[in-house]
């Protein structure tokens, strides 16, 4: 079966629709992952052992199970408890929660990298716990971890095709429906692959730049 450029031109608008949803889902998931990761990292440092232990186990569990099943869980099980989510929101929550457990480790490492002296200085300046975090620790901890965070966001981007399984009309789903209605798989599937390849090659450049800009830790 040969490649047909006319067909490519015909299906392009549909695929671009899908690209928009894919990017929207990634942005949604990234924002959530950034927040959830920080929350998990902070909860694991909690002096209350019950909190830190249970959050730790929860994160371990989420990290050890497939995203696809978690998406099914959010999409099919939660409505039984009266929480009915639109597919895109369910997908965003799934991505954010799953990758949040990964970014939590990035936050943990970043926070551990802040020298002890900073904590002591905050105490010496009589800052409250809240102020210590927002004015001293986090502003120093977050910039060096930006490249690592971005790395996970790119990984998340590559996982968005999974959302097609819970009926989100993102790129993969659009490609599949186009392929099924014309019974031509070569062009749509290859274009999806090419699209992801192009984006991730571009993101490598972005990552290099981020590493250059933020990666160094000045002491």
């Amino acid at each position: 079966m040969e490649w047909d450029w006319n067909f490519v031109r015909e299906i392009m608008p549909t695929l671009i629709q899908g690209v928009k949803i894919t990017i929207l889902a990634t942005v949604l998931g990234s924002i959530l992952a950034a927040i959830v990761g920080l929350a998990i990292a902070l909860a694991r440092r909690s002096p209350n052992r019950a909190v830190s232990r249970s959050v730790g186990w929860f994160a371990e569990f989420v990290r050890g199970t497939p995203l696809l099943v978690q998406l099914y869980f959010i999409f099919y099980v939660l409505p039984d408890f009266g929480i009915l989510l639109p597919p895109l929101v369910a997908g965003g929550i799934g991505l954010g929660l799953h990758y949040g457990t990964y970014t939590a480790e990035v936050y943990r490492a970043g926070i551990d990298n802040v020298p002890r002296g900073q904590w002591e200085a905050a105490k010496a300046c009589n800052l409250s716990g809240h102020h210590t975090w927002t004015h001293v620790i986090l502003p120093q901890a977050i910039p060096p971890m930006i490249p690592a965070l971005a790395n996970y966001f790119i990984a998340m981007f590559k996982e968005t095709p999974l959302l097609s399984a819970i009926t989100v009309l993102e790129l993969m789903n659009q490609a599949k429906s186009v392929a099924n209605s014309y019974y031509r798989y070569v062009e749509p599937m290859t274009l999806v692959g090419a699209f992801f390849l192009v984006i991730s090659l571009c993101s490598v450049v972005l990552l290099r730049w981020l590493e250059h800009r933020y990666g160094r830790i000045e002491r």
């Binding site: 869980f73 999974l162 798989y185 692959g193």
Partner: protein, 219 residues
């Protein structure tokens, strides 16, 4: 109650398929990892270029797209694969690309003095690799290989979307037959988590075994 045990049997059958896929995928991934990882530190430009292309391509596109490509597009170029073959191929090649970078990193992490010692003992390149470098590098790779194996286990859930009856697929079957959502998805999540725990425990004990007799050798 008897009904549930029947459905549980179905899910356990799915677990067997998942384990099978994970094992076969891991073997392929291991082979590809060493081929491409050693290829990336080769003397010959063409070998390095081939290995880099393979790694960048499979890390750049998502596993989901690769699987669909293997299952839906390859038949059009005359290569029909069963779902199991397509699954093992996509999983093995994808995770192999990630693991290849681990192999490369581990080989490069071995100190120069070891290479110099190989030269001093008049070992050929392959002899040095086989008897000196790899035995030490293997220990460095092992923990990350464990993580890769867990990633592979989690990625197997995607094959349910090309109608291979793995854990996730069976969970969907049980859901559609019983209308119950919590039981199939919760039990499947737990099974995946237990499998992941088994992998990480297995890798840890393997690491302990292999580290025996190397005390004092490693820096």
């Amino acid at each position: 109650m008897t009904q549930w045990s029947g459905y549980l049997g179905l899910i356990l059958q799915g677990a067997l398929v998942t384990v099978e896929l994970t094992l076969m995928g891991s073997v392929l991934a291991l082979v590809m990892a060493f081929l491409a990882g050693i290829g990336r530190v080769s003397r010959f430009f063409i070998v390095r270029a081939l290995a880099t292309t393979y790694i960048e391509f499979f890390r750049g596109t998502s596993i989901f797209v690769q699987l669909f490509w293997a299952y839906f597009v390859l038949p059009f170029v005359g290569l029909s694969l069963t779902p199991l073959q397509a699954g093992v191929l996509a999983l093995g090649l994808n995770v192999g690309a990630y693991a290849a970078e681990v192999v490369r990193g581990a080989i490069l992490s071995i100190g120069d003095e070891q290479y110099e010692a190989c030269t001093a003992l008049n070992l050929g390149r392959w002899q040095g690799m086989r008897h000196v470098i790899l035995p030490q590098a293997l220990l460095v790779m092992l923990p990350t290989f464990g993580n890769n194996a867990i990633e592979l286990l989690k990625a197997t859930s995607v094959v349910s979307l090309i109608s291979l009856a793995d854990l996730t697929f069976q969970a969907q079957v049980v859901r559609s037959q019983t209308g119950s959502t919590l039981m199939p998805f919760a039990s499947v999540l737990v099974i995946y988590f237990v499998l992941a725990l088994i992998i990480s425990w297995g890798v840890r004990s393997l690491e302990r075994r292999m580290a025996r007799g190397l005390d004092g050798v490693r820096v």
